[in-house]
Amino acid sequence: MRGRISRSSSWESSTLAREVSTVELPWYIAGIIRAILDGILMGSLFALMAVGLTIVYRVTQVANFAHAEYVTYGAYAAYVFAVTLEFGMIGGAVAALVIPGILAVVNDELVFKPLWRRGSTPLHFLVASIGSGLILRYSLLAFAASVATEFLKIRLPVFPKAIYQIGGIVPVTYVHLLAPAVGVAATVLLHLLFTRTKLGKAMRATASNPTLARITGINIFLIRRVTWFIGGALAGIAGYIYAYYTPANPETGWFFLLWIFAAAIMGGFTFYGTIISGILLGIIGNVTMFIANQTVGLSTSYQPAIALVVLVAVLLWRPEGVIRLQSLSLRTRA
């Protein structure tokens, strides 16, 4: 009992047991590097989340407000499989891909496809997706509040310790590497899917001209399912990574919803445009915040507003998007 205390027994002493080394970087450089690093992390996650929204929107015209919930469910699916059922982190990753993917497909089959069949408008899709989002988010909250209170806040087990310190000051964790790595991997895989496979080309064709795709004989129901699955799975894996970084709760996804929309809209609902916009939003958001905070003392809680301002500004002045990379399909709508 005393052993541990004796290590730092002198509570009154002002020096710490930890070694004190000198700070090597000036504070502003360190601050900006830190902002960029965290920005890349969050930006990669935004990109992963927003790509799903983009391809779903392109193929089915659903501006899906429930998309953010797949992020949450990804984190929770991973938690259940990796922690509760002890399938390990790989098992968790698979769950984070598959379960939100299936969830998204079911969401489409139960809600959006029937609405599409009866000729609903995109606005009705949007309202229905708000309904879907309410159902998904609050049923998880209800479950957490009544049945399993440990679900109010979850985190995945491997704590992101600093694995490297830039200049001895700025910590880099494995999540800072994992997020962009997964982002790049997903981008490459999707690129291959869209350019090398018949299915991927058919997805692009459907996105490009749904009526013609149907007439051409493309099985648009299969395309729909695949699209929703990919969208859900990408959001889910983003949620999975996020739950390593910091604890997730049933409202985690909801917090990101407008960031996701901002990224997709800034990218003009194009595939590469969305990815680049997502990453940029992450970095710009953090760096702007840091500079504005240090120079004019702008409160850090304005950060979500940055995404929203970008969103509104893009919609009003360039509704077709800012970063549009048309060469790879998924162009903005006419």
Binding site: M1, R4, I5, S8, S9, W11, E12, S13, S14, T15, L16, A17, R18, V20, S21, V23, W27, Y28, A30, G31, R34, A35, D38, M42, L141, A145, T149, L152, K153, R155, F159, P160, K161, A162, Q165, G168, I169, P171, T173, T246, P247, N249, E251, T252, F255, F256, N286, M289, F290, N293, Q294, S299, T300, S301, Q303
Partner: protein, 466 residues
């Protein structure tokens, strides 16, 4: 050192007498009385030991008052109930206690404390055959002021006159006008902020207010030799209020303070920690600089998490107020790394010092038995708040906000609870001045907060236990 062994024993005896009389007066019959007495007597030994071991850590009121009070309380109570009052059927006690949001981890434990009190009281009422029972009506405030206001408005609509909760200062301050307007007695088990300190109103608070804690913290940090202090605080009435109190006092003593406030209820605080790290760098991350964090569950965990991997923030010492002494920062609720970080920065928190007494022992045992864990600091206060609420209703003899408000200070004055003696000041807040200093320790792989000292907020005198 104020209360010796003698005093403690005296207090216990007084309590036993009081309970016995109380039990008898409730027409419970001989059986009940005997039972109650036996129970309490059994506890006597344990209690005496504890108190001795702690060396009577101070802060408790003179023993003599205690003796008188309890007898009086129960007599009053009895008088009210004896008249039959207007009490019958189910009497609702509103529990506006957050179980989600900033209190998602600690809130349910405080709710448990209040529920336990109501349960005990009801079984007591049953034993004495009283024609009424207390019915807990709980609703989650989401730890947010607007949530608390909605809950109190709903409570008002439902005719609830006595409410235990809400927890935070923001919530308490927000419901204060409504409580006054609609004559609803609010007993907050944990609000300490300056903003909700007002005289002659319907709001009562069990813990001592921050007007004592603020100076105590400043004196503590300055007294330990720190010249520069970075405060990161919730931008609400509690966090900002306490931060300002500390800043004011610290600067008056010649120190340098930088305050960072952040919006509660954000998903992530990477930016704020970046800012914190920057401020610390500007001051110089050395033995003259300290950090004071004023946070709740969710935000606190997140900030500590980011801080734990930041080399700069690991170089300075960290302090925290009462809101930081939570199990939520320790395993199993939080990753081990956070607890390790808190240990490595010699994290020191102040909590209002509790004068341990038989009720404390009883509460801890009952809580442990019912919920399978030991209570968190503010669960004690929730328990006491519920007891005071119910005793006041009984003492008033009718379920009426105004009557309860009138009698509550009296009841509280004569009340000895799990957190000790409740003397309320003119603002309806517990008047108290000593703060325990706790730090995180690891024993056999188990992390916990351990009391290592005490500070007197008036004199700033620090006593270390080791």
């Amino acid at each position: 050192m104020a209360v010796g062994k003698e005093g403690a024993i005296l207090a216990i005896v007084a309590l036993i007498i009081g309970l016995a009389i109380g039990a008898a007066a409730f027409k419970g019959g001989g059986e009940t009385v005997t039972e109650t007495v036996t129970q309490t007597v059994t506890q006597e030994k344990t209690v005496t030991q504890t108190v001795t071991a702690q060396g009577g850590s101070g802060g408790a009121a003179p023993a003599q008052t205690v003796t008188q009070t309890i007898t009086q309380t129960v007599t009053q109570t009895v008088a009210g109930a004896g008249q039959g009052g207007g009490l019958s059927g189910e009497i609702p006690i509103g529990l506006a206690i957050a179980v989600s949001g900033g209190y998602s981890v600690d809130g349910p434990r405080r709710l448990n404390g209040a529920m336990l009190a109501i349960e005990e009281f009801n079984s007591f009422l049953e034993q004495v055959g009283a024609p009424f029972r207390f019915k807990p009506i709980h609703e989650d405030t989401g730890s947010k002021p607007e949530g608390a206001v909605n809950v109190i408005n709903r409570f008002a609509g439902l005719g609830i006159k006595v409410v235990v909760g809400p927890l935070s200062t923001s919530e308490t301050k927000a419901v204060m006008p409504i409580a006054n307007e609609k004559k609803i007695v609010i007993i907050s088990p944990s609000s300490t902020g300056k903003a909700a300190a007002l005289p002659d109103d319907y709001v009562f608070r069990m813990p001592p207010p921050d007007t004592a804690q603020g100076p105590a913290l400043a004196k503590l940090i300055k007294g330990m030799g720190y010249e520069k202090l970075v405060i990161i605080a919730r931008d609400d009435d509690y966090g900002r209020g306490l931060a300002n109190l500390v800043k004011e006092n610290f600067e008056n003593m010649g120190g340098q303070v930088s305050v960072i406030t952040y919006q509660p209820n954000q998903p992530d605080y990477a930016n704020e920690v970046n800012q914190l790290s920057t401020e610390v760098s500007k001051f110089g991350a050395d033995e003259k600089t300290a950090v004071l964090i004023i946070a709740f569950d969710t935000d606190g965990t997140n900030i500590l998490e980011h801080a734990s991997r930041d080399p700069v923030l690991g170089k300075v010492r960290w302090f925290g107020p009462d809101s930081m002494k939570r199990n939520t920062f320790l395993p199993p609720d939080a990753p081990k790394e956070i607890a390790d970080f808190l240990m490595s920065v010699n994290f020191l928190v102040t909590t209002p010092s509790i004068a341990r007494n038989p009720v404390t022992e009883h509460f801890e045992q009952a809580y442990q038995q019912k919920y399978g864990e030991s209570p968190t600091p503010y669960a004690y206060y929730a328990y006491d708040a519920a007891w005071v609420a119910m005793l006041s209703v009984v003492a008033a003899g009718k379920y009426d906000g105004e009557a309860v408000k009138q009698i509550l200070p009296q009841v509280a004055f004569h009340f000895m609870g799990a957190t000790g003696h409740k003397v309320l000041d003119k603002n309806g807040d517990a008047a108290f001045a000593a703060y325990d200093l706790s730090t995180v320790v690891e024993e056999n792989g188990e992390y916990k907060f351990k009391v290592v000292g005490i500070i007197d907020s008036a004199t700033g005198q620090i006593t270390w236990y080791e």
